[in-house]
């Protein structure tokens, strides 16, 4: 893989990287992509093929794929968790997170 491509990925992923590391990653990617590229050689069997013989077998996701809904109402008191959560923040002011100017 080309170094330029790695630079683009590092930018997209918002990670600052040394040139040296990017070169190393470019090399690693060649072997990793060669390995995972195997999936492209799989001839996919048609969905549920051969599973019809008297089978009422559920798929795993049939058990857990359901929507979790609740009423759209406020369930906590105003500011109940603010202090606790902001304690983990690196920079705050007046109960808000402080960020750099973006415009």
């Amino acid at each position: 893989m080309q170094l330029e491509e790695i630079k683009k990925l590092a930018d997209l992923a918002r990670i600052d990287m040394s040139e040296e590391e990017m070169k190393e990653i470019a090399k690693d990617f060649d072997s990793i992509l060669a390995y995972v590229g195997q999936v492209q050689e799989v001839k996919l069997i048609s969905a549920r093929q051969g599973l019809d013989e008297g089978l009422d077998e559920k798929k795993p996701e049939d058990y857990f794929l359901h929507n979790v809904m609740r009423e759209d109402i406020v369930t906590n008191k105003k500011g109940e968790y603010t202090e606790k959560i902001l304690k983990d923040a690196p920079d705050t002011q007046d109960g808000f997170l402080k960020v750099k100017q973006i415009l």
């Binding site: 491509e5 790695i6 990925l9 590092a10 997209l12 992923a13 918002r14 990670i15 600052d16 990287m17 590391e21 990653i25 690693d28 990617f29 072997s31 990793i32 390995y35 995972v36 590229g37 195997q38 999936v39 492209q40 799989v42 996919l44 069997i45 969905a47 549920r48 093929q49 051969g50 599973l51 089978l55 077998e57 559920k58 798929k59 795993p60 996701e61 058990y63 857990f64 794929l65 359901h66 929507n67 979790v68 968790y81 606790k84 959560i85 304690k87 983990d88 923040a89 690196p90 920079d91 997170l97 960020v99 750099k100 100017q101 973006i102």
Partner: protein, 476 residues
């Protein structure tokens, strides 16, 4: 007060606590003594919690007022990616070095109710990315059975804590083998439950469609007890299985499948193959019929995994921005705050996987990798469903490698990834799987037997596991 920690199980400890042979304080102090003595070398724990005494007192009260359960007073270690309110949870990463959990994970909440004593948080590969616990930002963990070897990973700290008798049981997490492979490397039992059985609420995410929390212990029964204590529906995890959909145990066919063609590939240590054949004979002796099962696509599981998992990692780890919590690099521009915080906070393997996932999901490559992988994943699931029509379980070795030396595989990612060859399919399919000790080689390094069962059939793993345990008693 001297308690034989090596032979101790949850049920034995419970009996003794109930009959006042010793108190929870006595028991916890025995473990703390061992930790003090051994943790400097092994580095299983990153931190011993400052409120152990308080937890101990609460458990003792439960024994006094008759509300104690099997888990009350049991000293347990938890992996550093499990949130425990008021305590640091860092996923063994620099980026979360000072992150204090603002709430309890579901598993911690459940165990707290039962008066479990959390001793501390254990070392792991950074964000659970690794198979040796070498990628932790807090130093390597050593295998208590042979300190020149890795304990496996990513739950290497939790496993070592038990193997050095520094905890009775522990919780780990398993995305591609991170409970089972280290359990095998350190000679203990580790269960990855079915996807959706144990809530992921409050677990630091890696690959959300693969992650599952599970128990580690010295015996099958101990992992079963701990599993039962956390195996309930949680409305806060949208993939948690509702109570009415959870199965009850059913009778067994007493038939076990072996995917021979998958196992015959080179790359598996010949010692492991030999041990595996002996394990098959033992199971036959226990009354199980061993048959060949055909799983032609199983060999693609690891490739599927290393597409889906990095893809999920790249989106899950986007939350670490240096602004809301975690490591913050103070820069002039916002863009630099992001990029520098993430450079300083993430280790090498984490950076590599984020970039890999970014590539896999990027325009132009998405179809070739991610889309193909999720289709192959579906086909592998079907293949397993079909195979389970004829057998109760499918067995393999837990890992193709024996516990390896430090640094041996760190520079070769594909070789490191291959240590999960046999454990990854269970995560791809979502089925439960367990690793059980199956003896040691002449150098004292342990082997592991890996058993997979149909979705939600943990009961099969416990039944076969206990039968096997009788024939292959474990010694740590």
């Amino acid at each position: 007060m001297k308690i034989n920690l090596k032979e101790l199980t949850i049920e034995k400890a419970h009996e003794s606590l109930k009959n006042s042979e010793y108190t929870v304080t006595n028991l916890v102090n025995e473990y703390l003594k061992v930790i003090k003595e051994k943790n400097r070398e092994i580095n299983a724990y990153i931190e011993i919690y400052d409120n152990v005494l308080e937890q101990t007192k609460k458990a003792e009260k439960m024994f006094k007022n008759g509300t104690a359960t099997l888990m009350t007073g049991i000293p347990i270690a938890i992996k550093d990616n499990i949130l425990f309110e008021g305590h640091i949870a860092s996923a063994s990463s620099k980026i979360l070095k000072n992150y204090t959990a603002t709430y309890d994970s579901f598993v911690v909440k459940k165990l707290k109710e039962q008066g479990v004593v959390f001793l501390g948080r254990t070392n792991m590969d950074e964000f659970a990315m690794g198979s040796s616990t070498e990628t932790s930002a807090y130093g390597v963990t050593r295998n208590p059975l042979n300190t020149s070897r890795v304990p496996g990973g990513s739950s290497g700290g939790s496993v070592s804590a038990i193997a050095m008798n520094g905890a009775l049981v522990a919780l780990g997490s398993d995305t591609g083998g991170s409970i089972r492979q280290p359990a095998s490397f350190c000679g203990i039992v580790g269960l990855k439950p079915s996807y959706g059985t144990v809530s992921r609420f409050g677990i630091i995410s890696m690959g959300s469609s693969l992650d599952q929390v599970g128990p580690l212990g010295k015996t099958v029964r101990d992992t079963e007890i701990l599993f039962n204590a956390i195996n309930t529906y949680d409305e806060k995890d949208s993939t948690s299985i509702k109570k009415e959909n959870r199965l009850k145990s059913l009778p067994l066919k007493k038939k076990i499948g072996v995917p021979r063609s998958f196992l015959s590939g080179d790359g598996t240590d010949p010692e492991i193959t030999k041990n595996f054949e002996e394990n098959c004979k033992k199971l036959e002796k226990a009354g199980y019929e061993i048959v060949d099962v055909s799983l032609p696509l199983i060999k693609y599981s690891l490739a599927v995994y290393y597409i889906i998992c990095p893809a999920e990692i790249s989106s899950n780890l986007a939350r670490y921005d240096g602004i809301r919590y975690g490591l913050h690099s103070d820069e002039q521009k916002l863009y630099d705050v992001y990029t520098k915080s993430r450079r300083k906070g993430f280790g090498k393997e984490v950076r590599r996987r984020i970039l890999l996932g970014t590539y896999i999901l990027s325009h132009g490559y998405y179809d070739a990798y991610y889309n193909t992988a999720i289709k192959v994943r579906e086909s592998i699931k079907e293949e397993f469903t079909k195979a389970f029509l004829n057998v109760d379980a499918i067995i393999t070795p837990t890992s193709p490698y024996m516990p390896f030396k430090f640094g041996e595989k760190l520079e070769d990612p594909v070789s490191m990834y291959l240590s999960d060859l046999f454990s990854v399919p269970a995560n791809i399919v979502g089925i439960p799987a367990i690793s059980i000790p199956s003896g040691k080689n002449k150098n004292g390094l342990p082997f592991g037997l890996h058993i997979m069962a149909p979705f939600l059939r943990e009961d099969i793993l416990f039944t076969i596991g206990k039968d096997f345990e009788k024939l292959a008693p474990n010694e740590i």
